[in-house]
């Protein structure tokens, strides 16, 4: 168990404030990193996480206990990030139109300084692809757990991960393409930061 979260073995009772606070504490770091990878902006990621929990709190009385709350929050987070990126794209188009005929201001140097190449490359990926990549290679989920978390097939998860590796290897170097597990590395168990995913 890593620093990201604790085990969510307790039952989540819909509408219960204490259970929701526990979900907030356990899932905030993981969602923050996932959203940071999707948005590429730390402040936007924090804003999106807060928005995620506002949406989740509004829907909390209707939450179905048989569902894994981590997956529920993850889907809200990805949808929120998609909405954010759509709004950001519209804002950037409006900004380009507004600045037509004026000398270009370029990107914000402060933002560029705090943004690593890795995050920039991740933010260029489709949101669900970036989210799966972070879940797989940063939070330590395997493909089956990601598929269960998102309600998609393992084949879909595998295709998204392959797309992410190809794209990142083009931008960041061939090392990001990954390597097939050998007999020695196949048994290596990477530490997982994520909390337990309940069977659906």
């Amino acid at each position: 168990m890593g620093a990201d979260g604790e085990a969510t073995s307790a039952v989540s009772r819909p509408g219960n404030r204490d259970d929701f606070d526990r979900l907030y504490r356990e899932n905030y770091p993981r969602l923050l990193r996932t959203l940071y990878a999707i948005t590429g902006d730390a402040a936007a990621a924090e804003d999106c996480v807060q928005e995620v929990f506002v949406k989740a709190w509004r829907a909390w009385p209707r939450f179905r206990p048989e569902r894994a709350p981590e997956g529920w929050l993850h889907q809200i987070a990805v949808n929120t990030a998609i909405s954010y990126r759509r709004r950001a794209k519209l804002r950037s188009v409006g900004e380009i139109l507004r600045r037509l005929g004026r000398p270009g201001a370029g990107t914000d140097p402060g933002d560029a300084a705090t943004r690593s190449d890795v995050v920039t490359a991740l933010a260029g990926l489709p949101p669900r692809v970036a989210a799966d990549f972070v879940l797989r290679y940063h939070h330590g989920y395997n493909n089956r757990e990601i598929a269960r978390l998102e309600g998609v097939s393992e084949r879909t998860v595998g295709a998204r991960l392959a797309q992410a590796r190809d794209e990142l290897s083009r931008r960041l170097g061939p090392g990001w393409r990954g390597e097939l597990p050998t007999s020695e590395t196949a048994g290596v168990h990477f530490p997982r930061e994520r909390s337990g995913v309940r069977d659906a």
Binding site: Q50, V54, A59, S116, V119, Y137, H138, E179
Partner: protein
């Protein structure tokens, strides 16, 4: 199919990139944005709004279907009444054919005595028995029938000079006086 794994130094780059830009410690739940909504139970207000909109829409539909069939009929009636008083033929004020037929039907039903006035041409009158009366008056048999018209015509020839200067051409009444 075995999935590819990232090398260890790539994983460290990934972790460093993701951990670098954002604080890892979550704010307290009491400081989170959703805590502001805690006082208000997450009751869906959109249900009340949707119910209001649905009731309003249903009311509009009911009024549209079960209301008066021709809400502007009073306009047509008023215009026709004014045109009748002024003397303008009713045909010059032509509403839609549907309204015209309904108003003419209502006019015939409500005002049967006024229909001959509007139709001034003899051929279109619904009661042709009245129109040939003036033509049959010279026969003398119908003179008592046209009695109401006689008192108006008779006083004028009596105080006259009785010369009979062609006045007998008009009516049969002056004929006995002119014979004197």
């Amino acid at each position: 199919m075995p999935d590819r794994e990232l090398p260890e130094h790539i994983r460290r780059q990934l972790s460093a990139g993701l951990d670098g830009g954002s604080p890892l410690v979550a704010p307290l739940p009491s400081q989170a944005r959703f805590a502001a909504l805690h006082g208000a139970t997450p009751s869906p207000r959109w249900r009340l709004r949707a119910l209001t909109v649905a009731v309003a829409a249903a009311g509009i539909v009911v009024v549209a279907l079960a209301g008066p069939p021709q809400p502007r009929e009073w306009v047509v009636q008023t215009v026709n009444g004014i045109s009748r008083q002024v003397g303008v033929p009713a045909g010059s004020v032509t509403p839609s054919p549907k309204e015209q037929s309904t108003t003419s039907d209502q006019r015939e039903r409500s005002e049967p005595s006024e229909s001959p006035e509007t139709h001034e041409t003899p051929g279109e009158s619904p009661e042709p028995a009245q129109s040939p009366e003036p033509e049959e008056s010279p026969d003398g048999d119908d003179a008592p029938q046209s009695g109401p018209a006689q008192p108006q015509a008779s006083p004028t020839p009596e105080p006259s000079d009785g010369g009979g200067d062609g006045g007998g051409d008009h009516s049969p009444e002056p004929s006995p006086s002119s014979g004197d």
